[in-house]
Each structure stands twice: as structure tokens, then as C-alpha cells.
């Protein structure tokens, strides 16, 4: 066993809170709603999910503490790390044991791959205890293999049979839960007695809907990033000489950037969904930022903080076109390009692009041109996630300000620091919210297993309130599906939740951003606290607070 930090030692003793429905064990009373449908493409979804489609929404009430037959259950962590994954597993373990002490839990290693390749360990009480309330997915590892092929399903069945496993819990994001649904349908329609339950995980916050009010990890990750942004804001306001451009993880969606903006009140925050809706060009984004810098400079403030969502470049129409052209161009000339040095590739690309894209390309900083032509994935495509948007914007805003200075519309100094936060928060020890929510999701998954259900997502709602008032239950995953075009084929998928421009979180941001830009209204959230008064430990994200009608 590794050395344990003092905080980890103290935090291990935390007993996560449960909804009232689960406090008497996972053998709950099940209340069924009416038959359900799908969010769109109902007929196609129904045709694809003949056995699992239409299942009722389930709501749980406290059981009488009765026992259930012992079961063996398998659990998988799928996709990127998110704070609280270990607590889902601990909750699942405790939930299963609450129904029958003889039940056993197995962890498939390194994600879905472990299920397919039958790599597995039994998760005993000692192992579980060592990971309670810790961050990371290192208990059993995670992976990004997609469970989509029948050959994988057959292998999964065999793996389960090896250990007498009759239920699988898949902890993952939108795609992983879609796959859980497909696997549930496969098992059920083929008469294979293995239940499949999903749990909503992702720091990106893009797996949520009417029934799933939050994906776990979002709260903790946003608090870590907001701690750092707050510290940086304080530094900016102390040194008064830098503009800090901070890029934040979050894939396509800007939920993290928006939540961090609501927590820290920076001078600017770009929301990709707004850029797309307003069809903003890169030039407009740069001009907007430069205007904020100039306005603050006119008031003697040559410093500030700007937040940038990771997925931004994909939402800027002309950059999308440029990237597509570059992908085609470099693929078509692969042999010729391969032998060029980095600078020559840039010159080559600049000469071959369409006039419009060439002009966009030339407007980009040299370092970014270099990245676009050189950092390519194994399929030869530009690796959008590697583009240093924060540096690109900092440099382009600087260029714009130079022009404004020449015109006489800007007087000031502009020096920048750039940051990218992502890995810093994905494996933090879960906040109380995530520790409780995750433990409840896992315990609740045990309740769904005990209730004999399959193709359900574990659902814990009303989390704005104290945990005792949380609503536990299950939502048929088919209900969240629609058909989308993926890799040239129509596929059933859970609709990804992007930031809604008419939603309360964005509206609150939009109502305040001009004041935050002009003034210095930074808020300093500080680090996550695990002890002390409830006012500092038991917080709910601004996003959820606003979505549920609360105030900023």
C-alpha cells in the first residue's frame, strides 16, 4: 500500500449521505410510472430496442430491510476520469451487501476492454475501503474501447459467465450509456440473464436531461478549476500587469467554462454554443476580447482574466472549413508532405488552400499554423484538442490591440499569461456533493439490480436539496435516445446536452458579463473544503442552482 496523505486518511472516514429511499438498504419499494417513449425518432428507436423500449420510469421508496438472493455483479469504468468514480463502486458494493452479505462485486480492468478480454478482480471490502472518497479511477482503471460489436457482446457474456455475473454496471458518459443500453437489449432479446445498468459520469457536464440532472464529477472538477481561476484573478488584481487567458477542458460543450465563469466572475468567458448560434467569426471573437481589454485599459486596468472552452475552434465556422480543407489537402499529398520539415508544410498548405481558408490560415499566429499542419492523429486529421486556443487568442488580441493603438483607439499595456486546466481536476477527491451523489448513484444501481431491471440509468434527482430529500430511481435509457449521424451511419445515441442559450445559467451569465468585463468583480472560491461548516462544504454548482430556479 502506498503512503497516504493526511487529508486522504481523514477523508477516508467520511460517510456519504444517502436519499431517504435508500437509507434502509437497497431492497427498495419500487413505484412504476407509465410506459415511456424516446426523445425523438421514436419508431426507429422502438425497432432497434424491441425488448427494452417503453419501460417505465421507476421511483424508489424505502424498503423494509428484507434480504434478496445473493448475486455476483460486474462493474466497469468507461472513458475519461471523473471525481467520484470510486464512490459509485463503494455505493454499489454497500448496496449489494445491504441486500445479501453473500453478494460479490467484480471489477473489470481498464474499462470495457477488461470485459471483452475477461480481465477482472474481485472487489473485496478491504479494496473498497482503501478507495472510499478518493479521486481517480485507479482502483480498476478505465478505457475508451466502445462496446458496439456483437463479437464483443459474446465475449462479454462469456466473461460474465466465468464469474457467475448476472448484472453489469457501466459507469460512463453519453456514449458508454448508449452502449450499456445496446448491450442490455442484446442480452434481453437473446434471453441471456444479465442485467445492465448505467451511471452518468463526465466532468464535461454534457450528459444531463429532464431525468438526469447532473453527471458526476462536474461539480468537483469545476471547483478545482474555479479555485485556480480565483487565485489567478487575485494575482491579476494584485500584480495589475497581466491578462490571463485560461482554456478549460469540456470537449464540445462549454458547461465547465460557464460554471467556472459563474463561480469566479472573470472579465470575459467565451461560450462555444453562443459562437455557433451567432455564427461568430474568429475575427469577431478577437475584436470582442480586444474591446474589453481596451475598455479596461481606459479605466487604468491593464489586467484581466478570460476563459476559453476547449472545444471553441470546432464552433467557429471558418475554422471548421479550414480544418476540413487541411485534412483533405494533407491526406491527398501525404507522400509529398511526409518528407517536408515543419515550416515547409506550413508554406505548402498556405499555397494550396482555397482563397478564403488561406486568408484565415494566414491570420493565425505562426505557432498555431505549425500545430495545424504538424500535430495530426493516426488518421491524418488535425488534433483539435491540441490546438493551443488560449495562446492563439492571446496573440491575436495582441495584434488587434497594436492596430487599435496605431489608430489611437487604445492606450495601454497588454501582456499575457496562458493556462490550460483539465488534468488538474479530473482526479481530485470528490467534493461532498460528488461523494454523496456518486455513492447514492452506486447504491441506487444496486437497488435497480435488486429490482430485476435492465437497460436503466441510475437516477438520483432533487440534489439541490439535502441528501435525505433526493429522489432515487431508474430511467430507461431508451427514453433518452434519438438517432444521429455518426461516421456516415444513423445510430441511436443519447442526445448530448450543450449549453442552452435560453437556459438559466447562460442567461445569468449574459446578464452580468458586461459589468464583470468593465469592473473587477472577481470572486475567489478557494479550494474544496471537506470539513467545517456546511456553508463551505455542502455546495451545489451554480449551473444546477440556476437551472432549478435558484439565484446566482
Amino acid at each position: 500500500m502506498n503512503k497516504i496523505s493526511p487529508l486522504q486518511q481523514a477523508r477516508a472516514a467520511y460517510a456519504p449521505k444517502l436519499p431517504a429511499a435508500l437509507q434502509n438498504g437497497a431492497a427498495v419499494c419500487v413505484q412504476e410510472g407509465g410506459a415511456t417513449t424516446a426523445v425523438a425518432d421514436v419508431e426507429k428507436i422502438q425497432a432497434l430496442f424491441k425488448s427494452t423500449f417503453g419501460s417505465p420510469v421507476l421511483t424508489f421508496a424505502p424498503g423494509k430491510g428484507e434480504s434478496k438472493p445473493a448475486v455476483n455483479v460486474g462493474v466497469i469504468l468507461s472513458g475519461g476520469q471523473a471525481p467520484g468514480g470510486h464512490n459509485v463502486i463503494a455505493g454499489l458494493f454497500d448496496g449489494l451487501k445491504s441486500m445479501n452479505k453473500e453478494s460479490r462485486l467484480f471489477g473489470f480492468l481498464k474499462g470495457p476492454d477488461g470485459l471483452v478480454k475477461n480481465e477482472c478482480i474481485e472487489l473485496t471490502g478491504d479494496i473498497i475501503d482503501a478507495y472510499r472518497n478518493t479521486g481517480g479511477f485507479d482502483m480498476i482503471g478505465s478505457g475508451r474501447t466502445k462496446l458496439e460489436e456483437e463479437a464483443q457482446f459474446i465475449a462479454a457474456r462469456k466473461s460474465c459467465e466465468t464469474y457467475g455475473i448476472s448484472a453489469l454496471v457501466i459507469i460512463g458518459g453519453d456514449d458508454s450509456n448508449t452502449n450499456a443500453c445496446v448491450l442490455a437489449e442484446y442480452f434481453k432479446s437473446n434471453g441471456i440473464p444479465i442485467q445492465v445498468i448505467g451511471c452518468p459520469k463526465t466532468i464535461d457536464g454534457d450528459l444531463k436531461n429532464e431525468w438526469i440532472e447532473a453527471s458526476f464529477g462536474f461539480d468537483t472538477a469545476c471547483r478545482v478549476y474555479s479555485e485556480l481561476i480565483g487565485n489567478i484573478g487575485r494575482d491579476a488584481n494584485s500584480a495589475k500587469k497581466y491578462w490571463h487567458f485560461v482554456k478549460l477542458m469540456g470537449r464540445s460543450a462549454s458547461h465547465i467554462a460557464l460554471e467556472c465563469a459563474l463561480q469566479t466572475q472573470p472579465n470575459a468567458a467565451i461560450i462555444s454554443e453562443e459562437v455557433a448560434a451567432k455564427k461568430m467569426t474568429l475575427g469577431q471573437i478577437v475584436d470582442n476580447l480586444a474591446a474589453i481589454v481596451a475598455k479596461r485599459a481606459a479605466n487604468g486596468m491593464n489586467f484581466g482574466v478570460a476563459l476559453i472552452p476547449e472545444g471553441l475552434v470546432e464552433f467557429i465556422p471558418e475554422i471548421k472549413v479550414l480544418i476540413a480543407e487541411l485534412n483533405d489537402l494533407l491526406a491527398a499529398n501525404a507522400t509529398a508532405v511526409e518528407v517536408m520539415d515543419k515550416a515547409d508544410k506550413v508554406a505548402f498548405a498556405a499555397g494550396k488552400l482555397s482563397a478564403a481558408s488561406a486568408s484565415v490560415f494566414k491570420s493565425l499566429p505562426a505557432g498555431i499554423q505549425m500545430q495545424l499542419c504538424n500535430d495530426r492523429d493516426p488518421h491524418g486529421n488535425v488534433q483539435v484538442s491540441l490546438i493551443e486556443t488560449e495562446k492563439m487568442l492571446a496573440e491575436m488580441v495582441g495584434t488587434k490591440l497594436k492596430a487599435m493603438k496605431a489608430e489611437g483607439t487604445y492606450k495601454g499595456k497588454f501582456a499575457t499569461q496562458t493556462h490550460f486546466f483539465g488534468y488538474e481536476g479530473r482526479c481530485a477527491a470528490p467534493s461532498n456533493y460528488d461523494a454523496d451523489y456518486c455513492y447514492s448513484l452506486g447504491f441506487n444501481a444496486a437497488a435497480l439490480i435488486g429490482a430485476g431491471r435492465t437497460g436503466y440509468m441510475s437516477s438520483v434527482r432533487n440534489t439541490m436539496k439535502p441528501a435525505a430529500e433526493w429522489i432515487a430511481g431508474g430511467i430507461p435509457i431508451t427514453m433518452m435516445l434519438n438517432m444521429e449521424r455518426r461516421h456516415g451511419a444513423d445510430k441511436p445515441v443519447i442526445r448530448k446536452a450543450l449549453v442552452e442559450l435560453d437556459g438559466a445559467p447562460f442567461t445569468a451569465f449574459a446578464a452580468n458579463r458586461e459589468a464583470w468585463a468593465a469592473e473587477t468583480s472577481f470572486v475567489y472560491p478557494g479550494p474544496i473544503q471537506y470539513f467545517g461548516p456546511s456553508s463551505v462544504c455542502d455546495l451545489v454548482t451554480k449551473t444546477l442552482t440556476l437551472e432549478k430556479g435558484g439565484e446566482l
Copy 2:
């Protein structure tokens, strides 16, 4: 007033702990030691500091709570931000008021500049209360102007006379405290009745000696960085696919990198002082890192964490030579270079360097060559602090591993993520250690003023123990001086404390690093806790613990 975060609200109520000597107010009993000398160049220092040289070391014992005449005192924050600066000011305020309620405190704005330009606000109880236990220097700002010229001293005297100020407290690093000493000597030798007291501040940890056991802010900043490194280590050990190269602030000294290594147990940490002592080349550093990567890969671990101190490149002999040559070369050809584009500058430099430096230059990644030729300060010099050493090493290790793979000495995958932490920690709210230490330093500075002393540094020692046992007193700054060559002239300066290779912290690191490299022994310190059990809130740095004979 800005919006205040819940944590800031709750933390405002924290009452910092004081040494027993100060618990009865700042009117202490003063115990004088014998006459002192200087760390080196005694005669020269004595000649330069005729009036202040040789003052005794002071140790304080509790006073009887008597009052002293009211005084007006000025305070200045100098240099880079460090957590706890506001608490020094709060302690100073409370200390002064403890001796006489009519005493007043004035804050000079934006650092030493405010003293010279006479920009000042009175720090009332309301202002002080709003900043208790907060991070940042935003209460009065800071600045980097050096107080060195007689014209500045004359202006400083005038500013003080405007407000009837009879004592100045300068909160800063080694240079600022040297300047405080020079100013004290100037005032005293000219019969100007203004006392000058210094307080030891810097996150870099390089202002410490026999009498000053820690500079404030080092503890908090290292805890923020260690929180993030721990989270990243957990992510590395969960995803098992990235090597994370983390650069850490700290100027020339590697105290921060060493402390963070001791807290988090990474797979590698470079200590610049060792690189210099062993005259290691860049190639050797890269080879050492590549060997660790290869060894871990052979054991199935294609992931890891490596820490890199900010000042590294200045300690690598051949890079030092290269930078000096580049500085001369680009200065001598300024007109020709000015009109070149970025890539042409690189080609130009490569062609003009000495053979040895050209070979080093060509071994560097293209992006770093670009930075070396293009990011230059107003004097035309390479901006060493901007060199992305973490990316440089990641890329060079990758190149080395490719060669090893071709030779058959390495089988594995090597993908990297890079990080730079600095601004994230300089303005964090102070840990209990820094909150208490800073408040005590400030309160103690008031005691030095009450005792009528000048040219002293506020000293609080024995901080490994509970605060009541801390030893309060004053150390004559002249005692810490020696002569060093600066900008072509011999100057009296406080000797900068670098990492000592025979000191306990480095020795402990060196004894463990091979195991930490081969195994995965990451420790996850988690975020600073301000509430809860003393075991998680009242921590002392590993550096100080080891220096004082404690264990890792």
C-alpha cells in the same frame, strides 16, 4: 465591496495564532544577544553600514501589556505575490493597536513606487478586516521598483513626513530586505528618525538562513502545486497513458520543486542545484529521464510524472553559453535581424553561432529555437523565464526514446502532457501555517517598532512546534549580508539560499528517488484545508520538517 465566496466568508473569522511572547501585546520584554557580524566580507559590510552594523539579535518575552506612545507607521508590499501578505499587515495593525489605540497604519500603493511617489492610503480597521486571512496583495498592490538611489531615499523621507510616519515595514524578498537595510542605514546615519523593519516574503523559499527559517508563502504555494501534482499523478495512474511534465515556479532555486517532490513522490524531479554541481549537460538530463521512462515501460507503466524547476536552463552549462552567444549575436546584428521573419531568425542564428553552441541549438526542438530567437526582453536578452522547458524536455525525451526503440533498448508508448504552475498558487488564501506565521511576523514587526529598533528583520522561529512555542524576535539584517558582484559592481546583498545538496530535504529526496522512479508511489495531498482536524489543517512543509530533524 465585491461578492465574497462562502469560504472567504467563513475564513474571515479565523483568529491567527501568536507566539507566547506576543500574546500579551506587542510591548514585549526585549532580550539582547551579543554584538553581531556579517556572513562574509565583514569589513566591507561594516564600512557600508556604520550606524546599523553589529546590532544584537533580539529575543522577545511577554510584556506586561503596557502602552507605548502612538506612532504612525507605513507598510509596503514589494515584489511578487505570496500568500499571507495581508495577514502580515493585519498582524502589524493589531500589534500597533495593542500598544496604543491611537497609532495609525498607512499603506503605500503599488510597492516601493508608492513610497517614492507618495501614493498612500490609511489602513483603517474596516479595510484590514476585509482582508484578514485572504490571499493576494490587492489591498495595497505591490511593485518591483528597487529602492537603491539616494534620490529615492530623500523622496521616501518626504513621503513619511507627510503622514508623520516614524517607521516603515517593508515586506519583500532578499533584495527588498537588502534595500530595507540600506534605507535603515541611510536614515539612521543621517539622523532621520524613521525606523525600517523587513519581513521575509517569497514563495520561492530562497530567503532563509540560520535565523529566518522560512519565507512566508512558500508553504501555501507549494501546497497548491502539490494538490495539482497529486491530482495529475492520480490521473496518470488511472489513464495509464501519459507522462506529465510539470514546470514549477521558483526562480533560480529549486526549493519549490523539491518540496513538491517530497509531498507527492513523482517519478522524477530535476533539481537545478544538482545539475549545476554535477555539471550535467542537457543531453544527460534527457538521457536520465528517458532511462526512467524506459524502465517504467519495461514494467508495463507507460505513464509518469516529472517535475522541472523554472530556473533549470540557467544551470545547464552549455545552454548558458548558448544564451550568452545568442544575446551577443542578435544584439550585434539588431538591424538586420529586426526585419527577418521568425523562421529566418532561427536560420540566421544557427549559421552564426560557434560550432559547439550551434550543435546545442540544433539539438533543441524547433519551437524552442523559435522562442530563443524571438522572445526577447527590452534589453534584447533571451527571456529565460518564458522558455517552455517542460515542452522542450518532453520533446527531447521523445526523440531519445525513438532512438532507443530503434536500438531495441526501449519498448513502450510515450505520450506527454505539459503543465506550468506558478500564478495558480501565489495568491491562494494562506494555509494555517502561513496565516499564523504571517500574522506573527507582522505583529512582531510592531514589537520591533515599539522597541525602537531599525535595520532588523522580523523573525519568528521554531515554527515546527505549536504557535505558542514559536520564538519571536529580531535579526539585524546586516548579519545576513555579504558582498556579491551585481551588474559589474560589488554590492551588499542577502545571500540567496539555494537547495543544499548535503541538506536533509535533498538527502531525503535522493534516498527515495530511485524507488519513486521505478514504482508508482504517488501521494495525493489534496487541497489546503482550513477547517477540520489539526492533522489536515496544521501542517508544516516537508522541507522545514526535514531541516529540523523530522522525518519525511
